[in-house]
């Protein structure tokens, strides 16, 4: 029994946070198991960063419960900080340090840091170790950001919008790193507003909108859900679309009517709505 129990890395229940009168997080709940890659997916302003910064210990919640590796993140115990890695996306580099010096400095306060050279290897900066941080390209800085979060060999890594502003090559490289983290058995909490990123990387996703979780589950399960099937065809030059939960009955009826009228249903298609449709539906619904 015990061995079958999954160990929990993060527990968030009815989390709330306000900036003055603005309530950015309005009762978010989710759980992340150890070794899982969990995504908070949602449009800008949904409350993703606020949620992550509460878990990182940067911000204080105004309500609800939060536990990270068994600790209250608001207390910011050093023992917790030694076990998490934070990708800030806000720079925070000494411009005149070399890449290696920066990584070495960041590794000092961890009980068993990863070797700096190995860390640079992991993020693809092995040949940039002697370069000053100020001379790095934008993409290389993002890799350094990752290196600084990983040098302590943390079990849990927070990545807030790890690929926003990346070109496709840089994005693929960042995805590789996240996959590598998953392979190494790390727990990852990432936020993104790119649906395909959540689909590509996450074991489970919570879709966040206006400070609330509007759907949660493995990316695959969010796809069809209750939205059923989409049947569409071309008629008089424009596309006609119907959603149905019983495509057999529906097709039988519309094709029967078309045959009786002597019409053809051009480009007839039956499809499952993509996660993208679900994402748009959910986030639009919540906006209404």
């Amino acid at each position: 029994m015990v061995s079958a129990m999954r160990e929990r890395a993060i527990l968030v229940r009815d989390l709330r946070m306000s900036y003055g009168p603005v309530e950015a997080v309005r009762g978010i709940s989710f759980e992340v198991d150890k070794g899982e890659v969990f995504g908070l997916l949602g449009p800008n302003g949904a409350g993703k960063t606020s949620t992550v910064e509460i878990l990182e210990g940067y911000r204080r919640r105004t309500g609800g419960e939060a536990s990270v590796l068994g600790f209250d993140p608001a207390a910011r115990p050093r023992e917790l900080r030694q076990q998490i890695g934070i990708v800030t996306q806000e720079g925070g580099f000494y411009p005149r340090a070399t890449v290696r010096e920066g990584v070495e400095l960041a590794g000092l306060p961890y009980p068993s840091p990863r070797d700096p050279g190995e860390t640079l290897e992991l993020v693809g900066l092995a040949d940039r170790g002697e370069v000053r941080v100020q001379d790095l390209s934008g993409g290389q800085r993002r890799r350094l950001d990752l290196a600084l979060a990983l040098v302590g060999d943390p079990g849990l890594v927070f990545l807030d919008e790890p690929t926003t502003g990346f070109d496709p090559a840089a994005r693929r490289a960042a995805w590789e790193v996240v996959r590598k983290l998953a392979e190494l058995g790390k727990t990852v909490l990432l936020t993104t507003h790119y649906l395909e990123e959540a689909q590509a990387l996450c074991d489970r996703v919570a879709i966040v909108k206006d400070g609330l979780v509007v759907a949660e589950g493995p990316p695959g399960s969010l796809g069809p859900g209750t939205a059923g099937y989409r049947v569409s065809w071309r008629e008089n030059g424009s596309r006609v679309e119907h959603l149905t939960d019983d495509p057999t009955e529906f097709l039988n009826r519309v094709t029967g009517e078309a045959l009786a009228d002597g019409r053809t249903l051009e480009e007839l298609q039956v499809s499952r709505p993509s996660l993208e449709d679900v994402y748009l539906d959910l986030t639009e619904e919540a906006a209404r």
Partner: protein, 241 residues
């Protein structure tokens, strides 16, 4: 790694970064010496003038190495997110700040040493040398101006405005505190302001150590108050973001 090890690691790193920043090295070490040499040359080098100038420039160096340097540096660290990164890391705040402050303190002591050495060896000033008194007043100046520098960094809104904020304090301060000339016959209002601020008292103390051989008790008292005020202000105003 032990707390001491972390302080040392941060200190070593800060030393390296300091020497890689030409403008920090210039303002901390070269500028006081430049003023020293230029003024000493312009006003010839009679011993009266030197006896004002050496303690004055030494006092100014303390302000430059602590107040000015720390204000600039902490604004940069805050604005580019380094402080926020440290806050989220397991680096204890005390070890981080100790390493950072130790570097500024080292600069202050070295630059006082250089000014005194140039005065004595270069210009032959040999009025007096009370090493203990020199250490005491340098230390008091470092604590007061170090604390005020940390605090002032969090009054400055952003990196762009840092030079204006810092010089609006630094320049008037050195002009009324008797860095370049004896401040004995200032207009009463300026004199009162100078006496309320710490630099004049640091210079009085250094002058006691290097020239007159007396211990100015009033200066000790005022500086003691400023040390407390500086440290309290630093602790109250410090923020990570």
């Amino acid at each position: 790694m032990s707390l001491g090890g972390l302080v040392l690691g941060q200190y070593r790193f800060e030393r390296k970064m300091f020497w890689r920043n030409p403008s920090a090295a210039f303002f901390t070490f070269a500028l006081p010496l430049l003023f020293f040499v230029l003024i000493a040359s312009v006003f010839s080098t009679d011993s009266d003038e030197l006896e004002v100038l050496v303690p004055g420039i030494a006092g100014m160096s303390i302000v430059g190495a602590t107040f000015t340097a720390l204000s600039y540096y902490l604004v940069q660290l805050r604005e580019n997110g380094i402080l926020k990164r440290v806050q989220g890391s397991p680096m204890p705040a005390s070890a981080y700040l100790a390493g950072l402050l130790a570097s500024a303190v080292a600069n202050a002591f070295v630059s006082v040493l250089v000014v005194v050495a140039v005065g004595r060896l270069g210009y032959g000033m040999d009025a007096n040398l009370d090493v203990l008194e020199l250490l005491v007043f340098t230390t008091l100046g470092v604590i007061a101006f170090g604390g005020l520098g940390v605090a002032f960094a969090f009054v400055i809104p952003n990196a762009d405005s840092a030079p204006a904020y810092v010089n609006a304090v630094f320049l008037p301060l050195i002009f009324i505190s008797g860095v370049f000339y004896s401040a004995d016959d200032l207009p009463p209002v300026l004199d009162a302001i100078a006496r309320a601020l710490p630099l004049k008292h640091v210079i009085d103390g250094l002058s006691g150590a290097l020239v007159t051989g007396t211990w100015p008790a009033g200066a000790l008292l005022v500086l003691g108050v400023w040390c407390v005020a500086g440290v309290v202000a630093a602790l109250r105003l410090f923020r990570w973001e």
